[in-house]
Symmetry: C2
Subunit: 305 residues, 2 copies
């Protein structure tokens, strides 16, 4: 299920389902976001603070539900990640969301919501920048616009335009995308919010984690059979922890060679999505084709629905 | 199943199922450990280095298996934790271990092995100091000796002897202990090495984690129904991350009040086990009685077997 894309001038609902922020920053970033060309409606509790959370669990869920229900709101973009989605999810009413499908965008901690809404409702959600994000990078901005502003989701990702990208086991595949932040995906394992990766193309990114911690998480995903049945992998930004450059360590590439490549699935490494400056938008639940000869990731028909 | 306890002069097998270390440190710490009164036998790959691991996964498993098989070895104590048990566990032969039950001790990353051997074989294992640990604290040392050196496991923990200990929902209970390092327990969820906490008394500790990360892990355990069916909780050392003292934060006590106490189970907080100087030994799979009036944790009959 793909909700109607939005247009410039339409209303974006802004919520904070996870971490809180200071009012000055929130106001500044909402103003910047409005300047992208959207009208905005700000959730009642976006300015709340409860520890590191933007209000208590139930009020963050209340804001999210209200944005889906509100007919004046055409799409929902989260203000920021941080932590807290897992505490809020048990309070969502999925039936109500199903009757009001909308574009929903975020990443990092929001990974949990993206994949849960897709898994339970079939709603295609968007792993992409948030209101607090920096939209100054043109690739980031165009990718976001292309993904959320057109019902046909008519964007393509040209792998050749990114110098950093590496490819392995280059057999062309089609499949639905799921994924997001590796830590968050691992923190969903064993819970009702666990990601379903079977027959999917799994994309993963993380930031500021130590190499052994990335190893531990990939090992957990593997032991939980979350890698074995994927169609392929797309790995994004994995900015290592800067205090983790000591002598006895694997490099990220060594880790990928140990944990991902032996699975013999088509794999793209270093696609710029996630916590770095450049963060291209990926549709969770969207069907894509990866053509390695052409170096393209493109939406396929069922994605357009 | 409780293996025979050891005596001074008996042989302790030393292995490194997880992280590596420098030869100088290993030699020094093995010498110190020998001075506690034990003969030692050092695993063939304890000095190996493969990234942060003490050798490749299969050779670490080989060392562990060999120590169980070797009739000259009376008990097994891990050299250190770090990371790596999860990578090694798939290579163990449980049938062989079952035919050669032995005292097995460690903590931190070793949590995974302790709980897995208990869950699959019923073998009581020991969450306690390792060869690299500091045994200068008398409580640490005595607790270790009492736990591993007597088939009757004839030790008791006097809660009143620790100023830091707090108790909640003080209803006396009996049950089998499981648990250990919170991060490691969460990293087992969804895998074949997942901890079984049903009807158990769950003990947890962690070190150098940010408060939001402890929140996330307790939330995951709760959503995975790993807290709901416990008989009670024992929380140990939770030394917070020192860079995590910023403005918007919960305290550890606030987190316990939010995530643990509402479950209305008997709960002991701040028992000194885990990564700090004082680390008392707890038997994974051992049956204990918690008597809040007397302020005592004592083994019960089935534990002695």
């Amino acid at each position: 299920m793909l909700a109607h894309g939005i247009k410039f001038g339409k209303t974006v609902g802004i919520i904070s389902p996870a971490g809180c922020d200071d009012a000055e920053i929130i106001n500044k970033k909402i103003s910047d976001f409005r300047n992208l060309g959207f009208n905005v409606k700000v959730g009642a509790h976006v300015f709340d603070k409860y520890g590191y959370l933007a209000g208590e669990d139930k009020v963050r869920a209340y804001d999210l539900m209200n944005m889906f229900i509100d007919d004046e709101v055409d799409a929902i973009v989260c203000f920021r990640g941080g932590y807290g989605s897992a505490r809020m999810l048990p309070y969502l009413d999925l039936g109500v969301i199903k009757r009001h499908p909308k574009i929903f965008c975020g990443y990092s901690d929001i990974t949990l919501i993206l994949n849960y809404l897709y898994k339970k409702l079939g709603l295609i959600t968007f792993h992409g920048p948030m209101v607090k994000s920096d939209f100054s990078d043109l690739t980031t901005r165009d990718s976001f616009f292309n993904a959320v502003m057109d019902r046909s989701c008519n964007y393509k990702i040209d792998l050749n335009s990114f110098d950093s990208v590496q490819v392995h086991n280059t057999k062309n595949i089609s499949g639905k995308l799921v994924g997001g932040n590796l830590s968050i995906i691992c923190s969903s394992l064993g819970t009702p919010f666990e990601i379903d990766t079977k027959d999917k193309i799994l994309f993963l990114e993380d930031v500021n984690e130590k190499i052994y911690s990335i190893d531990r998480m990939l090992t957990q995903l593997n032991l939980a059979n979350k890698l074995k049945y994927c169609k392929g992998f797309i790995l994004g930004n994995f900015t290592p922890n800067e205090n983790d450059m000591k002598e006895h360590n694997f490099t990220l590439n060594e880790l990928i060679a140990q944990k991902i490549l032996p699975l013999r699935k088509p794999t793209i490494v270093n696609l710029p999505f996630g916590h770095e400056h450049q963060n291209i938008t990926l549709p969770v639940g969207g069907s894509v084709k990866i053509d390695f000869e052409a170096g393209l990731i493109t939406p396929v028909k069922e994605f357009v629905l």
